[in-house]
């Protein structure tokens, strides 16, 4: 139960924030305050998106440099294969344009092409007993030594975990996709807020007020006058 709450308290607080913004939009009559409330709502939705994209133990999605250097030397073929119950070769994971690292090992869904998905994240779901089953040599080794596999201690070390290391993208990254979406949405958000504000400015110049109630009564009065005439 505590675990359940701890895994979701973030969502709940962010929903609280969203609802605060929504409340301002609904309950307040001042157009500028409504726009600020809309902004609050928007920012809270952004927070929610980013929360969904977070991976525990992950880091910012900026590739760590040393991996690239190693790859271009062509020497570092860190391919570990964890031994496990299914031995299907998983797929090709190339770290530069010339070399392919054949990562052998097994994920739970070994035949699934989406196994590469799990590589990037290190697949912790493969089991807590996933011990490190490899270490990588420095790049000065001969190039044709393709597999520098080091047997893991655990015979059934989770394959995907060693895959992750084999792909040399063993560092967990948070999901970059929400970041991209929200990044552009923030700038678009401020631009559209500015449009809303300029509409409010024009309304103020035409009516002399930005309170919704006053605007409505003025409109009604004008309509009545129109009908009477």
């Amino acid at each position: 139960m505590l675990e359940f709450i701890l895994a979701r308290y973030n969502y709940w607080i962010v929903i609280c924030l969203m609802m605060t913004g929504l409340y301002i939009v609904f309950a307040r009559g001042n157009l500028v305050k409504t726009l600020i409330g809309l902004n609050l709502f928007q920012t809270s939705v952004f927070i929610f998106y980013i929360t969904v994209g977070k991976v525990i133990g992950g880091t910012a999605p900026i590739l760590i440099e040393n991996k690239k250097k190693d790859g271009t030397h062509g020497g570092d073929h860190g391919a570990g294969h964890g031994e496990s119950h299914s031995e299907a070769p998983v797929g090709f994971v190339s770290s530069d344009e010339a070399e392919h690292l054949v990562s052998e090992g097994a994920a739970h869904e070994a035949t699934d092409p989406s196994v590469t998905n799990q590589i990037g994240y290190g697949q912790p779901g493969a089991g807590g007993q996933a011990t490190e089953s490899l270490h990588l040599q420095p790049p000065a080794t001969p190039a044709n030594e393709l597999f520098k596999d080091v047997a893991g201690d655990a015979a059934h070390a989770a394959g995907a975990s060693s895959d992750a290391a084999a792909a040399a993208t063993d560092i967990l990254y948070s999901n970059p996709l929400p970041h991209v979406l929200i990044l552009t949405a923030i700038v678009v958000g401020v631009a559209t807020t500015a449009v809303g504000l300029s509409l409010a400015v024009r309304i103020r110049e035409a009516y002399g007020t930005v309170e919704e109630d006053d605007l409505e009564s003025m409109d009604n009065a004008a309509e009545v006058a129109e009908v009477a005439r």
């Binding site: 900026i62 344009e97 700038v187």
Partner: protein, 146 residues
């Protein structure tokens, strides 16, 4: 208008902010940043200057007439990159055809830099344009005070 301390601070900060915006613009491939952030930061530098020294002096540096041109030019640079890759025989915004022989995806790098430049120009010009539009408008007399 404006306090002396504020003005001195703004003078000190103005150039570093612009430098930082340029760094963010061109270093967006390697670290956090890119066209959107750089554009906003650049616009923020001029907005800060206008807040401290008045809109007129800021408009001497960047005349309001330039801004719609900058906005359109930014979008055109972006779309033009796509057209250019189409002319080279690739898909729209398929940067690889810019330098097809490169083993290090130089085409992608060039494409991303050019496109980010367009984004940065468009965003900076738009933000400054919006600020000019608001700041240049003289307020009507208010019936309530601050």
């Amino acid at each position: 208008m404006g306090h002396l301390i504020l003005r001195v601070t703004i003078k000190l900060l103005f150039a570093p902010i612009i430098l930082f915006a340029l760094y963010v613009q061109f270093h967006g491939d390697y670290g956090p940043g890119g066209g959107f952030q750089a554009g906003v930061t650049l616009a923020a530098a001029f907005i800060l200057h206008a807040l401290g020294f008045g809109l007129d002096r800021c408009q001497k540096v960047i005349p309001p007439g330039w801004l719609p041109v900058g906005m359109a030019l930014g979008v055109l640079i972006y779309a033009g990159t796509g057209i250019y890759t189409m002319l080279l025989g690739g898909n729209f915004l398929d940067y690889d055809v810019i330098q097809p022989d490169s083993h290090h995806h130089a085409g992608q790098h060039i494409g991303i830099i050019v496109v980010e430049l367009g984004v940065g120009l468009a965003v900076a010009a738009t933000m400054l344009q919006i600020f000019y539009a608001f700041a240049a408008r003289e307020p009507e007399p208010m019936d309530d005070a601050w």
